[in-house]
């Protein structure tokens, strides 16, 4: 069966850029959050999550983003999101998450904000 969610991670300057592809639902979100928690435990503090290839997010995905943002806030780190599209964008807007997590049009514009 095709994986429902895939991430690729690269370091750009002091930021970790995480590209997420597929779906962040109740099944895949715990794994996504765990991956980020491991990077935070290794000392990473600045994250750009690129949702350009994310097709779907549910409240489980929002929960993983919120939990990560809270962890980073406690460490004076930063979490930025980029390239939200379609239903993912709508979910962030209606849930009010757009106003609590910085969202950028592209990874480049997020990098410029760090």
């Amino acid at each position: 069966m095709e994986a429902i969610m895939e991430t690729t991670t690269r370091k750009q300057g002091n930021a970790v850029v995480v590209t997420v592809k597929g779906k962040l639902d109740a099944v895949s979100s715990p794994e996504f959050e765990k991956g980020l928690a491991e990077l935070i435990a290794e000392g990473e503090k600045v994250f750009i999550i690129d949702f350009g290839e994310l097709d779907y997010i549910s409240s489980a995905g929002l929960r993983s983003i919120l939990a990560t943002a809270k962890k980073l806030k406690a460490k004076e780190g930063q979490l930025l999101l980029s390239t939200l599209k379609d239903v993912v964008k709508k979910v962030f807007e209606v849930s009010g998450f757009s106003s609590i997590i910085p969202i950028h049009e592209s990874v480049e514009s997020a990098l410029a904000q760090i």
């Binding site: 779907y56 489980a60 106003s99």
Partner: protein
């Protein structure tokens, strides 16, 4: 009407989703609207998986879908867990800051945002949640 009945557990989420996706295909929904239908369904199911059967893990969920020419595409979700009226929940505080923001209730809120109508009724020992999507 077609239906599927499976254990109320996260391992079967994908099978429920596939079932409804198959029902909704060909109803004229855009790709975007299909994702919204999927989202409302996931939130409703996960809520049942997590809360409907607190003392046992043997409960089941039945999902039915049908199309009504007058009203639209209808999904009914039935479980025999504890009574739970999703309309009784208050709205989350959308203005809270990142540290204050609580995640509880967000799934239910998303259901309300994605559907055109939502109805709940308790029939004997069964919760029946109806989600309606206009065509």
């Amino acid at each position: 009407m077609s239906n599927i009945r499976l254990p109320a557990r996260i391992e079967d989420l994908e099978r429920f989703m596939q079932f409804v996706s198959t029902c909704a295909t060909g109803q004229g929904f855009t790709k975007e609207r299909m994702k919204e239908i999927e989202l409302a369904l996931e939130e409703a199911l996960v809520n049942i998986f997590n809360y409907a059967y607190p003392d046992e893990h043997t409960g089941e969920v039945e999902v039915r879908c049908k199309t009504d020419d007058d009203t639209g595409f209808i999904i009914e979700i039935l479980d025999t867990g504890i009574p739970f009226d999703i309309q009784s929940l208050s709205e989350p505080d959308l203005d809270a800051s990142i540290l204050e923001r609580k995640i509880g209730g967000l799934g239910i809120f998303l259901i309300r945002e994605m559907v055109d109508e939502v109805h709940y009724r308790r029939d004997g020992d069964t919760n029946i949640l109806t989600l309606l999507f206009n065509k």
